[in-house]
């Protein structure tokens, strides 16, 4: 409830020119100042996990790619890792390198995309057009290597679907050279531009304590100075050998402030980091098979026999993505599939970031976490036709009741009346 009569409500969305995807903000404002924000999500919820549990695993893999068109390598990598753990499938070393190359290419395209959108939100359309013009180079390489500009269909359980041929390597090297030469120019345009700094410095601040408390992930957490990167913390594929280090504004010689400017610093530096990783992978990639199951029917037969559960994680451009999968023998479909997308973790960061900011800064603050609503909208409660909101206590109660139902006796926590 508004405390004084001067506080009033502004709803923004779900359809709004500043937001490409449907999400609704309700701002409590006092004059130009934002006092509080509420976020209503669920407009892009398509029930993907439900559909995935009704299709065989190969179809589910293609569906996972359509969770998000920008993270269309990240989700398939996470689900393949989960299924490979569940079914005990080995991935040949060359395929692991290829997966890393593709996911870093995706990171470059996603971060450049974000930089352009951020420039647009600041009203700096020249910079939007410049960044999106140079972004086409990495899309050209992705198209050359995978056959498509978006939705690449590269990872498959047990490996990857396409190899990089010796003739393609010089093209990738040319792209690396192109971006290396250009990165300094982009950094100049973003980070040394006084008008960009004026609009982004100390705007939408997320302190390290808040980032930690709210479980922020990816560049949103790293811009606040947290050294948090799944590639560094829980290495998978060949990231351990590549020695990835989380990038924070300290790498740019600045003490992290957690504002929008710092988020731009982290993302632009990560473009450079991805270029280095791709280059290393190209040289260190061993010869060999690209998949342990060249024949799809054999793969499907193996998956149908498999029994177990697995977790797959990946550092998507926006942060940590986790897929959980459970397989039962004799069933083609996954029995359980759960996706935790990075924006889901970052969503709550909006609350402290919007506090006491100006209305004019809403678009850039909203964009600064690089929200991906279609990734995030995983749960949508509808009860008796009307949307229902469940709080932490309700979820905890539901969870305990289910444990009791399954085990047939009260859970220890309920018995002692304790809480978390």
């Amino acid at each position: 409830m508004p405390e004084t009569q001067n506080v009033y409500e502004i709803p923004i969305g779900p359809i709004h020119p500043a937001l490409k995807e449907p999400v609704r903000f309700t701002f409590q404002v006092e004059g130009e100042r934002i006092r509080a924000v509420d976020v209503r999500a669920g407009f892009a919820h398509r029930g993907i996990e439900f559909m995935g549990m009704r299709r065989n695993l190969i179809q589910t893999l293609y569906l996972s790619e359509r969770i998000c068109g920008i993270c269309s390598i990240s989700h398939p990598i996470a689900i393949t890792l989960a299924v490979e753990r569940a079914a005990g499938i080995e991935v040949p070393p060359r395929a692991q390198y290829l997966r890393v190359i593709f996911s870093e290419l995706e990171r470059i395209h996603s971060h450049l995309l974000w930089a352009g959108v951020a420039a647009h939100e600041l009203g700096f359309d020249t910079l939007l057009h410049l960044t999106w013009k140079v972004r086409e180079q990495v899309l050209d390489i992705l198209e050359e290597l995978s056959g498509n500009r978006i939705d690449y269909a590269i990872p498959i359980y047990g490996g990857v679907r396409r190899d990089i041929s010796p003739e393609q390597i010089p093209k990738v090297e040319a792209m690396i050279r192109y971006y290396r030469g250009l990165l300094e120019e982009l950094v100049d345009a973003f980070l040394r531009d006084p008008s960009v700094a004026a609009r982004t410095r100390d705007v939408g601040v997320l302190t390290p304590e808040e980032a930690d408390l709210l479980c922020a992930v990816g560049p949103t957490a790293r811009a606040s100075g947290l050294s948090k990167d799944v590639r560094q913390d829980r290495p998978y594929l060949v990231y351990g050998e590549l020695g990835v280090k989380a990038i924070t504004p300290r790498d740019w010689g600045l003490e992290p402030r957690g504002d929008v400017y710092d988020k731009a610093v982290v993302r632009l530096l990560e473009v450079g980091q991805s270029l280095d990783l791709i280059e290393t992978c190209l040289y260190e990639m061993p010869e060999g098979e690209i998949t342990s199951f060249p024949k799809i029917p054999a793969l499907l037969a193996h998956l149908k026999k498999a029994e177990g559960e697995g977790l797959g994680w990946h550092e998507a451009p926006r942060g940590e993505v986790i897929h959980y999968i459970r397989l039962e023998a004799g069933v083609e479909e996954p029995v359980a599939w759960k996706v935790k997308a990075p924006t889901y973790s970052n969503l709550m960061s909006w609350v402290p970031m919007f506090a006491d900011q100006e209305i004019a800064d809403i678009p850039i603050i909203a964009a600064s976490i690089d929200p991906c609503i279609c990734c995030m909208d995983r749960v949508h409660m509808v009860r008796d036709g009307s949307p229902a909101t469940l709080l932490k206590e309700d979820l905890l109660r539901l969870s305990r009741e289910k444990t009791e139902r399954l085990t047939g006796h009260p859970s220890p926590v309920t018995r002692h009346g304790g809480g978390l």
């Binding site: 359809i15 398509r46 359509r66 013009k133």
Partner: protein
């Protein structure tokens, strides 16, 4: 396609009805220098009330259906609706979801379908140009 000239600039409004972002970023790619549709006078506008055509992406989720109808009604006549992407055209991979009420032509009348998952920017431009031809036809009937 019977298009003698671009007699007027076509302004489009983009509405995402639960799409996966794939088509949406390709629409933005069509606006930026490599494809640069603004040289033909095609540009994205911030409100359906300024638009000649709607670019609809996504399979239409349950909460977005009502909003899509409202945006369609807010767009002044004569107007054209261009569906971008496979899921908006036919539900595509999202065909048996409990929260998808589309495809788009179940909700609002559609003039042009651009299939693809996602379609290339060239295909999106072709779709919008087809919509221009359709609007010119409509304008011709009124005269």
């Amino acid at each position: 396609m019977g298009l003698s000239s671009f007699k007027r600039a076509l302004w489009v409004f983009h509405i995402a009805t639960g799409s996966c972002n794939g088509c949406d970023i390709e629409i933005v790619a069509a606006l930026t220098p490599r494809y640069d549709v603004e040289r033909f006078g095609i540009k994205l506008v911030g409100t359906p009330r300024h638009a000649d055509a709607l670019l609809v992406t996504g399979p239409v989720t349950r909460p977005m259906a009502e909003r899509l109808k409202r945006v369609y009604e807010q767009t002044p006549d004569p107007k054209a609706v261009v569906v971008v992407g496979g899921c908006g055209s036919t539900s595509g991979v999202f065909y048996e979801s409990y929260n998808v009420v589309g495809p788009v032509d179940e909700i609002v009348p559609v003039d042009v379908y651009v299939p693809g998952c996602p379609p290339r920017p060239e295909a999106i431009i072709h779709g919008v140009v087809t919509a221009v031809a359709k609007l010119e036809e409509l304008a011709g009937e009124k005269r």
